[in-house]
Subunit: 103 residues, 2 copies
DNA sequence: AAGTTAATATTGTAATACGATATTGTCAAG
DNA sequence: CTTGACAATATCGTATTACAATATTAACTT
């Protein structure tokens, strides 16, 4: 269990991960949570799904349903606007890291 | 004016900036907002001050008042716990950037 | 048609964001 | 002294977000 600030800081990282992956391939909730876990991030579905929903409402990703092995998944992929935001976030993230690591 | 997601993503970055600077030197609100502006971040005092307050409540920074040229500033500096969280955030941020930029 | 299962969706409460507004504390001028 | 001005901090009210827990969906299986 992370402390509160750590969790808070990483929420932004998680959202960037979402965009990043949703640009590269179509993603869906369950699998993506596993991906996040692999990176050491912990997030519940009560947090993750609403993030997906909002990002779709606001036009950063779009979704479609697909039946896989008799289970219905909702896949998300980044829109043009989502890609644009991701590019900006990449630049800012890189600058942040450079500043954090300059001595 | 950034769009909503961009602003949301950067809020985490801003909090990391706070810790980073509060480790290096004592910081206070007005000046720090300028520093953030220089980095292209936009944040109002109604957001910034409560962040400081919470970070203090939760033990990541501590503060003291100081009279400078007849004006009272509240300076913040990172605690041991704050430094610890920063180190973790640095690691995570670096990994994120590496992933974002690998082809 | 009843049960099983993976996946998604939602609910209720607490916490957070943020523009606008108010407060504090000190100095300088009358 | 006390009033005005100023930098800085603090808070208010509304709207949004986080999150664990719970509910729902949809297709397959027996």
């Amino acid at each position: 269990m992370d402390d509160q600030l750590t969790r808070d800081l990483f929420l932004g990282f998680i959202k960037i991960h979402i965009l990043h992956h949703a640009v590269k391939e179509d993603i869906f909730g369950q699998e993506f949570q596993n991906e996040l876990n692999r990176h050491g991030y912990n997030i519940s579905f009560g947090t993750l799904y609403p993030i997906f929903h909002r990002m779709e409402e606001q036009g950063y990703v779009e979704s479609y349903k697909k039946n896989v092995d008799g289970k219905v998944r909702r896949y998300y992929k980044a829109t043009k606007q989502g890609k644009k935001v991701l590019e900006k976030a990449k630049t800012q993230a890189k600058e942040l890291v450079e500043e954090l690591y300059e001595e």
